[in-house]
Symmetry: D2
Subunit: 248 residues, 4 copies
């Protein structure tokens, strides 16, 4: 038994990668690829069970309203979800016969797991720092993912009752100790040739633990999308973030 | 309120490190240090609530029988526990008023977490390999920890229904692809100057996840022992392995 | 003053990357792109000063004979050069007015430097091992580059009078200690998502030195080719390998 | 033929490690160990050919004056050498029959090679950054070694005519991009359990090169000291820094 998949935004770079990922998976069947000008009805006509949406903020809500009402599940990587939008989507999913929805800001499984493991490890180490590496054309430093990771570590430390980290630095060149995100130092390295990489370094007496994530390629979200397609049947309503699907 | 701690094997190298760890902890109070020739009664006389045992296989069972019966909890890093011994200890802990027992083969939190995270991550990646690094005077290759890690990954992959890993290797120098432990390649590097280090490398389309553990020093078990002392009150009976105490 | 560049094999994947690299360089001017069916005379007619050849073993010798005789310098990444072929090319370069030739098996500067530095470091460390990481569709293990690196280390150790490396391994799973290349252990890891990566790990008392090279992309040879184009005027005759151009 | 070695400051922690290193070396013979209250004449009386000085700034000049005049070579790790002191030592070494002198701020071969290789690699990469890792009780950030490494990279880039590194960062948390040392970003990570570690990361199109040095132990200077003892006969006069002895 295969799962019948429709892809919205199938002509875009991300959509194409999803299409390829579906096509090479024996348990998935591609039944519709929808571009900006195609009718959403092609999805239902072709019997799509799960619809993947990597489109634009201005079209995603319309897509979701239609698909959810038709009972099709939706795996969504489109950006721009405010709390208000999320609340609206949740309401749609609560109708009888509604499709399930997964909306995730990051589908790269290695990045999601790095954040999850960082939260889990944080209570057991005296120190924690984040170093991220990206290409030098990136506009923001540190990356959004690194900031989220640091926030997660800080929350986890606080919950465990850990105080400020030890740091005897008395003489310092400005910037050497990184940017503090909720008390966690974050360092941003910009290296030509690199894509997107993150390292979390925990230290305790006599030992350290390093969790490192490397994205070599913009296709790195594909395995996460395929996981979403395969598991969404089990997650009624709206799920935000891939973490829950990982059962962690 | 402090926890009153007694240390068995307090003169040994490991015992000394535990003694130091207890002494620098405000929430722990060292009430007895027991050498090979001292009476175990000093533990009860001094009101020890938790006893740490890093002694020898020939003395540990006697120590445990006494302490458990006295209602003292036991944190045990001594080796040589067979299934039979574990069963015996479990029986002792089931008497009324018995102390709790934690026996762990590895108290280095970074190593324990590496194994836990490796199991958690395994279902989400097509490939997994283990590389371990030790000093060149080590007798066995790969290390016991690396073998355990690989076994955990293999179990986790099997449970998730993953098959054999892709590997197109057609021409190979003997040994290049490592030792297979339940289908997981494990590589052992021997480097002068290193202590004990392990790296688990997971790969999926366009990305990889690396979990690395470094032990720089033989004191790396101390944080795990202190964690055991602090948490053992909550874990009645016998617990084997530090994983449960980590709540993961 | 710009250098006028012609590219042979300009339609191939590698040739295209070279074309792009030349086009974005202010000091280089692309004057001719030659495919399999184009006449070599276009190179001279357009005043090419340096010709880049990433073609096939069956065409490269004809290309070189023509270009060298015309006084054009040749930067060559085509494979299949036997000693006999190299000798022939050398003879051609010794004619009056002949062009200079650079033939290199690897134009990735990071890989070339890794080999150079590994040779330089080898005499100062008791132990040395090589770990290489590639995608799981690679046919050979270890990689040719890793074998070359190990051979260079072995030669450098021998020249310095170092004997066999310490290794107390007494119990071992088969393959755990890697493949021995001239006495140097080499480990090959196959990870989905990775491209081509190599790590050389040296150890001495209390310390280690790791040299790591990552190729994220098949364009990683471009900087080495551009370096060859810019420097070839200074290197008369035939040069084999990019090392000399690096002045190391 | 063995080399006869005397050790000044033999009771200090560093001196003891040197004594042990000499004792386990078949080609070296320990002939004198001198503490603060012992006479320097024991060195000459016992026929020391090379004297190792890890003492204090207030005693080293007297030690050197005596030893050099006696024709004994001196390997010196004591700190506090000003230009004036170096000039004085150089004068002493120019007398007839004078001993040779090696003064080095860092005897850890892995750290010295990291600096040497960083200088060599710098001209070939668009970007270069330094990340150093130390225990959280370190007072200065970044470390002196990291600053020196960055300065060497900057000099090497300037000599090669490279301009400023690309960096499109437009939005940044303060400190995220590290401290600039002569234009090279340097990041200082403070991790409990670590000792002293440095990583230099170079990037070019499609590739990166990472040189990493780990000191696990305060004995990491011993191999450099032993190298100095063995090679000093070949280096008349005063040599500053271990680099020249490495022939690089």
């Amino acid at each position: 038994m295969t799962i019948k998949v429709g892809v919205l935004g199938a002509k875009g770079r991300v959509g194409q990668a999803v299409v390829e990922g579906v096509e090479v998976s024996d348990d998935l069947e591609l039944v519709a690829t929808i571009g900006r000008d195609d009718s959403l009805e092609l999805l239902s006509l072709n019997g799509a069970e799960v619809v993947v949406d990597f489109t634009q903020p201005d079209s995603v809500m319309g897509n979701l309203e239609y698909c959810i009402a038709q009972g099709m599940h939706c795996v969504v990587g489109t950006t721009g979800f405010t709390d208000e939008r999320l609340k609206q989507v949740e309401e749609w999913t609560q109708q009888e016969g509604a499709g399930h929805v997964l909306i995730a800001p990051n589908f790269a499984i290695s990045a999601v797991l790095t954040m999850v493991f960082a939260r889990q490890a944080a209570p057991y180490f005296e120190t924690a720092e984040v170093v991220e590496f990206h290409h030098p054309t990136k506009l923001d430093a540190p990356s959004g993912t690194a900031i989220h990771t640091a926030q997660g570590i800080a929350e986890s430390r606080a919950k465990a009752g850990l105080g400020a980290m030890p740091d005897a630095t008395a003489q310092s060149l400005e910037g050497a100790r990184g940017a503090l995100v909720d008390g966690i130092p974050v360092h941003a390295v910009r290296t030509r040739g690199m894509v997107a990489h993150e390292e979390v370094i925990f230290g305790a007496e006599g030992q350290s633990l390093t969790i490192r994530q490397d994205s070599y390629d913009r296709n790195s979200f594909t395995p996460g999308v395929l996981l979403g397609i395969r598991e969404i049947e089990k997650f009624p309503g709206l799920t935000y973030g891939l973490e829950e699907y990982l059962g962690l």
